[in-house]
């Protein structure tokens, strides 16, 4: 019996691990770890060469050249260390396979449903989430999609047994898809494809306005029956939650931000921002950070510069805005390309460390987790990784180690296992 059990365990370990299970989350950090000799990309725009980084109990305790080593020492000479990259506005863990309806949990029905929460549907054992890690993407803002107000997001890290353990910041923000002043022709009804003015735009704006007014009024009411939608908005009025406003056009950006501010919402983040570069003064005046669309896009307008999506983050950054890169509109699996989206901007003349900031320090600041994450700094979470070379370039983005809260996480995935399995098949022949 005991022998049988042992066999079973061995079987599970050998086959179970390689054929279906996800990577087992790493154990809590129990002893200090020191990385030495690294080029440390701090995530705030600076680099420390020949850097020693020490972390204990999941937190960075020492950082600089010449710091004393402690515990396990990892020699990272010639290698690069980065804070874990952070992916905003993603439905990772909410959708596993796009075409399989049963695996989609990102878009609830209803127009104004801020009370719908992503966190409880987040699948911490998603194979897609796992595949982010070997590229250095270690955290994300898990975000519902669709409707006018899609729901409430939460921020997670990518090595956890369950959503509760994964949570870094619970219910961090509300996501509002601002109406478009132009809409696509309904070609299936014989209208020409392409864009034409949306006659309902003002009506749709008024609907949002009414909803925000009612939400604000609801907050002042003490004896009340619970209205889940209005109740869910309260954090945006008291500043504990951010409002993520999705808008691309000049008019939409100005209308949306003006209305949000006038409605008493404390902290607004612009998401998308295709034409944000035309209204940078307005954004600066209102102190609005931008989660700009990812660079691997084609221009929305035929007459636009062919490289506009490549340089858009730079245009906004040059104008003095706080900018981070998101790929909310891309398939989940693409999110592992986040470092390369940032690399693309460097090709347009942005300083490399500024590009790193756009997927680390700036992202953490915008998401409101910069006290604990986003940069390599003493006291912050040891969520970081070591790459053989420049992590923004695909040729040299080669991870040897990654840590989440100091835990040495696996860099294997469903995909690396298949790779090894089939390489083994051919080598064995």
């Amino acid at each position: 019996m005991k022998k049988q059990k042992n066999i079973l365990i061995t079987l599970l370990l050998t086959f179970g691990m390689t054929s279906w299970a996800q990577q087992t989350p790493a154990n809590k950090q129990t002893e200090a770890i020191t990385i030495t000799g690294a080029t440390a990309h701090i995530g705030d725009g600076t680099v420390v060469e020949n850097c020693t980084i020490v972390f204990e109990d999941g937190k960075i305790t020492a950082l600089g050249s010449g710091e004393t080593t402690q515990g396990t020492v990892i020699d990272a000479s010639g290698k690069h260390v980065y804070p874990g990259f952070i992916a905003p506005v993603k439905e990772l863990g909410l959708i596993e396979v796009n075409a399989v309806r049963a695996s989609r949990d990102a878009d609830e029905i209803g127009d104004m449903i801020p009370h719908v929460r992503s966190l409880i549907a987040y699948n911490s054992e998603s194979k897609v989430v796992e595949s982010m890690r070997p590229n250095g993407v270690l955290m994300a803002q898990i975000t519902p999609k669709g409707g006018r107000i899609s729901g409430t997001s939460s921020i997670v890290q990518f090595d956890a047994w369950n959503w509760e353990d994964a949570a870094v910041k619970v219910d961090d923000g509300i996501h509002l898809n601002w109406p478009s002043s132009f809409r696509r022709g309904r070609w299936w009804l014989g209208e020409p494809r392409g864009l034409k003015p949306n006659k309902d735009y003002q009506k749709q704006v008024t609907e949002v306005e009414t909803f925000l007014q009612n939400s604000a009024a609801y907050g002042g009411n003490t004896a009340k029956e619970l209205n889940p939608a209005f109740a869910a908005m309260q954090g945006t009025f008291n500043g504990s939650q951010k409002l993520y406003l999705y808008a691309d056009g000049e008019k939409e950006i100005i209308d949306g931000i003006t209305l949000a501010k006038n409605s008493g919402i404390k902290s607004v983040v612009l998401v998308g921002g295709y034409h944000a570069y035309k209204v940078t003064d307005f954004l600066k005046e209102n102190d609005i950070p931008v989660l700009v669309q990812f660079t691997h896009n084609t221009p929305n307008f035929e007459d636009d510069d062919y490289d506009l999506p490549y340089k858009l983050p730079k245009l906004l950054s040059d104008a003095g805005l706080l900018v981070a890169i998101q790929n909310g509109e891309a398939s989940n699996f693409q999110t592992r390309n986040l470092p390369f989206y940032a690399g693309q901007v460097v090709g347009q003349g942005l300083a490399k460390e500024k590009a790193v900031q756009m997927i680390t320090g700036n992202t953490a600041k915008i998401l409101g987790i910069d006290a604990t994450h986003g940069t390599l700094a003493i006291g912050k979470s040891a969520t970081l990784f070591i790459s053989e070379g420049d992590a923004l370039d695909m040729r040299t983005n080669q991870l040897s180690h990654a840590f989440i809260d100091g835990r040495n996480i696996s860099l294997e995935t469903h995909q690396t296992e298949l790779w090894k399995r089939y390489s083994g098949k051919y080598e064995g022949e």
């Binding site: 596993e96 396979v97 796009n98 075409a99 399989v100 194979k127 897609v128 002043s181 132009f182 014989g190 020409p192 494809r193 392409g194 864009l195 034409k196 003015p197 056009g249 000049e250 008019k251 034409h275 691997h296 896009n297 084609t298 221009p299 307008f301 035929e302 007459d303 510069d305 062919y306 490289d307 398939s331 989940n332 699996f333 592992r336 390309n337 390369f340 690399g343 693309q344 460097v346 090709g347 923004l392 370039d393 695909m394 040729r395 983005n397 080669q398 995909q415 690396t416 298949l418 790779w419 089939y422 390489s423 051919y426 022949e429």
Partner: protein, 984 residues
């Protein structure tokens, strides 16, 4: 009761003026009017080029009897003095739906797809309806006829505007006094065709333009085969088609490209279509001229965009602004190029807009003679009816217009439109011209009144001192009714009076604001003169923007030419065994790579300093769907008969953008809707060239096959089409290849056979003349496909996508199949669950030729980066990685003897990169195809400035148009759908 009604009906019919000679007469005695009508002293346009001043037109019994300077007028003539008037042949529209009931798209729908024909005894495809006859649906429409006559038309050719083959038209004179026995000039006047499906037929094939084209080709071939008596069954469609062969064939193209497509089909079948144009023929005028077709042009020009809101103005593309600016010159450009064309009211909201649009075309340079020809002699000649209509030569129908002067002048009044000798008054020509300036005395005050505009439809302006008053005028049957209001509209003065032909002054009755009655008098002070300012405005030729190649943003003013260029001191990635050559020069000449070496002498070559830069062969994309007007023909599960070469879109901005990413060649594949898809187009991305010039000369032949979820239609609600499983997919192939083999055997045996384009293509595959690019995902189906190929003794050339190729890479290598794969895509559907980014590396190591491809208009412009991912995933060397987007795809496409590497003698398709080409930081600075520079960062910068400038210029012109009261349309953006494998 019933009998009485019947009798009444007979009485009514019998009372028509035009009772035929041999019909019995019961409402009186037979009588006939054989009198003549003579119009004397007129300026007569016998034809647009034969004009008689002070001539006489003599008509009798609806026909022209005599016309000329000295015509002897018979005694039994009604003589009309037309002094000062002009007489023109009335207009003809040969693309009309007048009086013919048109099928309407049924609302709703959403039923299961219908694959089979709904008719019995007709062609297998419901959209082919040569047996349709407009005459069967014809009912004379009096109201519409009047509208048309008011616009100057006398004869129209009408048809059922539905389906791909639409049957015959009916030629009708707009004679309201007669009946169908006189009006119908021809009940089988022409045959009409198009590329558009019937709106009422549900049969799903063809879903695409290329399907419609294939269907037409097959239909013509079947008609010949049928005519030779090869069919055992009756096909009324083919019989009708063969019967209609002698008629004029009119093709509805509505676009320059479609016109060329239609003409090609016509040429292959010995038919010269007359073509309904789209108004954009000027963009490819030389090729349009080359069709030798006569055109029928709609005269519906785009309205200006309302760009007063600068944010909204951003949504309007330069292309569409230009179209507004350029399109009115289309008729002029056709005329300049000697292309015969007629004009049609087709697509015009109302015939009443016709004159204004025609005047616009004339303002943009269309000669008046050409305009008149386009409305008279040309349409008549297209239909082969010059003997009866279209001119006022003796014996022609007496269809003519009487006008106050030059018919193409703004102020000219159309008095009468005679059809078949029947008079129709549009404006009373005997009514006095009251235009001029007057002193108007009314209610004890004197006002300044001026009457302008058309003599038949005059406009009024009344001023009190310098204040313009609200005023109104109507003038009909010699009576004027006019009113004006003073005190900001509070006090109304209303007047009416009969115009006295003998006096220039107008007098009559006046009702004062207080209701009291009085009289008014308008004393003429000066004669009417044309507004000088107006005239000046009209005379100035509008500025027309130059057409670029293609005619949108970033198009070329002149097409790029091959140059002799020396790239000096580059890091050269050869994609050959020589690998990477540092500090190397490359000389290109006559479109080819001429020399590779160090310190090459420049001679006359243009020198490009490439120090610190990287020179590579152009990137080749094995799998693209850009530059296509259609991707899938989804109407059948096998569509080998369709060709992507038929639907290449050379105006897709993605072509330019991909040049900006170093892409020079691409295989434009059919989509993955069917197990057997359509034939590929292998393209060089020569931005600005015609589709024909983009397609490889001597192109290798390829076809798309597909497996898995898409062909099973797994991801949408479709349960009726075979195959629904991977098991069924195999059976489709086995069946088609077996049939193809049998077809080929029969053909080669010399026995008579029915030409079948689809089977011809299958036979090409079996004979090793055509290669397959097979969309594939999971290992089971990949293996199956190779076994099918083995069974039929051919090699499966390329698996595309092939995301589980790594699981059967050894088998692929043994079979000799190549692979074109994504670098890192997965998780988008169930069948890519086991897709891994290490796929390319594993396959390559097993000896498979591997390319990294895009299937995506965005990714394609960064294929260099996608190749770099194989370094990250699976540890490819940089040299091997680079081959995956250059020489390897060239090998897969059988074009590696021409492109894919830097080798002396190969095409000079090159990219100069700012940095290591696999680096995320690299930019393509120059992209050349055959020695001509199609993309250049510096030129791109200039383009941006030029676009800004031209947009501003056009926006200003449109603002001016708006200020001048021109009709506007809201800002909108035409946008092409970005297509993928699955686009329908």
């Amino acid at each position: 009761m019933k009998i009485r009604l019947f009798a009444l009906a007979i009485l009514w019919c019998g009372s028509t003026l035009f009772a035929q000679d041999y019909f019995p007469e019961n409402d009186g005695v037979k009588s006939k009017n054989n009198n003549y009508t003579a119009f004397t002293n007129a300026k007569i346009y016998v034809t647009p080029t034969q004009v008689i001043e002070g001539g006489t037109l003599l008509i009798q019994n609806g026909k022209v009897k005599q016309v000329g300077k000295s015509v002897s007028i018979p005694k039994n003539s009604v003589v009309v003095d037309a002094k000062g008037h002009s007489i023109y042949p009335s207009f003809i529209d040969i693309y009309s739906k007048f009086g013919v009931e048109q099928p309407k798209r049924p609302s709703g729908g959403g039923r299961a797809t219908q694959y089979d024909a709904s008719r019995q005894g007709f062609y297998w495809n419901d959209h082919i309806m040569p047996e349709n006859a407009a005459i069967a649906k014809f009912k004379y429409d009096d109201k519409k006829a009047k509208e048309l006559r008011d616009a100057g038309f006398g004869v129209v050719n009408s048809h059922i505007q539905d389906g791909i083959v639409r049957g015959t038209g009916v030629l009708v004179a707009l004679n309201g006094s007669g009946d169908d026995s006189n009006r119908i000039l021809d009940d089988k006047s022409a045959q009409y065709l198009s590329f558009s499906r019937s709106v009422i037929k549900k049969q799903s094939y063809p879903t695409s333009l290329m399907g419609a084209m294939a269907l037409l080709r097959q239909m013509y071939s079947d008609a010949k085969w049928y005519a030779a008596g090869n069919s055992d069954t009756k096909d009324r469609s083919l019989e009708a088609l063969n019967e209609n062969k002698g008629l004029v064939q009119i093709f509805e193209a509505k676009d320059k490209g479609h016109a060329l497509r239609a003409d090609k089909i016509g040429d292959a079948n010995g038919i010269q279509y007359a073509i309904l144009g789209g108004g954009n023929e000027y963009e490819r005028i030389a090729e349009i001229k080359g069709t030798n077709a006569k055109f029928i042009l709609p005269i519906n020009f785009p309205e200006a965009y309302d760009v007063s809101d600068p944010i909204a103005a951003n949504y309007v593309n330069l292309k569409d602004m230009r179209k507004w600016n350029q399109a009115p010159s289309n008729p002029k450009i056709l005329a300049d190029n000697g292309i015969p064309f007629s004009l049609t009211l087709y697509d015009l909201k109302s015939p009443s807009k016709f004159k204004a649009n025609l005047m616009k075309a004339i303002k943009y340079g269309l000669p008046k003679t050409k305009a008149l020809e386009a409305l008279t002699t040309v349409p008549a000649s297209i239909l082969g009816k010059s003997g009866s209509v279209g001119s006022l030569q003796v014996g022609r129908q007496a269809n003519f217009l009487i006008t106050s002067g030059d018919i193409f002048d703004k102020e000219t009044t159309l008095y009468e439109n005679w059809v078949q000798g029947q008079k129709n008054v549009i404006n009373d020509k005997n009514q006095k011209d009251i235009r001029g300036n007057y002193d108007l005395s009314a209610g004890g005050m004197t006002y300044k009144m001026s009457i302008t505009g058309e003599a038949g439809k005059p406009k009024i302006e009344i001023k009190q001192d310098t204040n313009k008053l609200k005023s109104k005028l109507s003038y009909k049957n010699d009576w004027v009714a006019l009113s004006f209001a003073t005190d900001k509209g509070a006090k109304n003065y209303r007047m009416t009076g009969l115009v006295n032909k003998a006096s220039d002054n107008i007098k009559g009755k006046l009702t004062l604001p207080n209701g009291n009655e009085s009289t008014f008098a308008a004393i003429k002070t000066s004669a009417f003169t044309k507004d000088k300012k107006d005239e000046k405005k009209d005379a100035s030729a509008p500025e027309v923007m130059p057409v670029t190649f293609p005619n949108l943003a970033y198009g070329f003013k002149t097409k790029p030419q091959a140059e002799t260029i020396l790239f000096q001191n580059a890091t050269v990635w050869t994609s050959e065994d020589s690998g990477i050559l540092e500090n190397t020069d490359v000389l290109i000449k006559d479109g080819k790579i001429s020399k590779i070496g160090q310190n090459l002498s420049a001679g006359r070559a243009k020198v490009v300093d490439a120090t610190g830069k990287h020179l590579t062969a152009g990137v080749i994309d094995e799998h693209t769907h850009i530059a296509a007007l259609a991707v899938n023909e989804a109407g059948h599960n096998s569509t080998a008969e369709v060709k992507m070469e038929d639907v290449v879109d050379n105006e897709d901005i993605d072509i330019y953008r991909q040049l900006g990413g170093g892409v020079t060649s691409a295989q434009l594949l059919h989509g993955s809707a069917n197990p057997i898809g359509g034939r590929s187009a292998i393209l060089k991305l020569k931005w600005g060239e015609s589709p024909e010039n983009m397609i490889y000369s001597n192109s290798p032949k390829f076809i798309k096959f597909a497996l898995g979820e898409n062909v099973k239609q797994s991801n949408w609600q479709s349960f009726s089409r075979f195959p629904q499983t991977r098991m069924g997919v195999e059976q489709v192939f086995m069946n088609y290849f077996q049939r193809g083999k049998e077809y080929d055997t029969k053909k080669k045996s010399g026995q008579p056979y029915r030409y079948d384009e689809e089977m011809e293509v299958i036979a090409e595959i079996l004979n090793g003349e055509r290669f397959i690019s097979c969309h594939s995902y999971v290992q089971s189906e990949i293996n199956m496909m190779m076994k099918v190929a083995d069974h039929f003794n051919f090699r499966l050339n390329t698996f595309t996508h092939i995301l589980e190729g790594y699981k059967v890479a050894d088998k692929m290598a043994a079979h000799g199949a190549g692979a074109g794969t994504f670098s890192d895509w997965w998780a988008y559907k169930y069948e890519v669950n086991d897709a891994i980014p290490y796929n390319a590396a594993i396959m390559q190591r097993q000896g498979v030729t591997v390319a990294i491809n895009s299937d995506d208009g965005e990714m394609a412009r960064r294929l260099n980066q996608e190749a770099a991912k194989t370094v990250k995933y699976g540890g490819m060397t940089e040299l091997e990685a680079w081959k995956m987007v250059t020489i390897n795809p060239a090998k897969l496409l059988h074009i590696d003897d021409r492109v894919g590497s830097i080798k002396v003698g190969k095409d000079a398709d090159l990219v100069l990169w700012s940095d290591h080409p696999l680096s995320i930081y690299a930019k393509a600075e120059k992209t050349l195809i055959e020695g001509a520079t199609y993309f250049d960062l510096e030129v791109d910068k200039q383009n941006r400035e030029a676009i800004k400038k031209e947009r501003t210029q056009l926006i200003n012109m449109m603002l001016k148009e708006k200020a001048g009261g021109g009709k506007m349309q809201g800002p909108k953006m035409s946008k092409k759908e970005r297509m993928t494998c699955e686009s329908l």
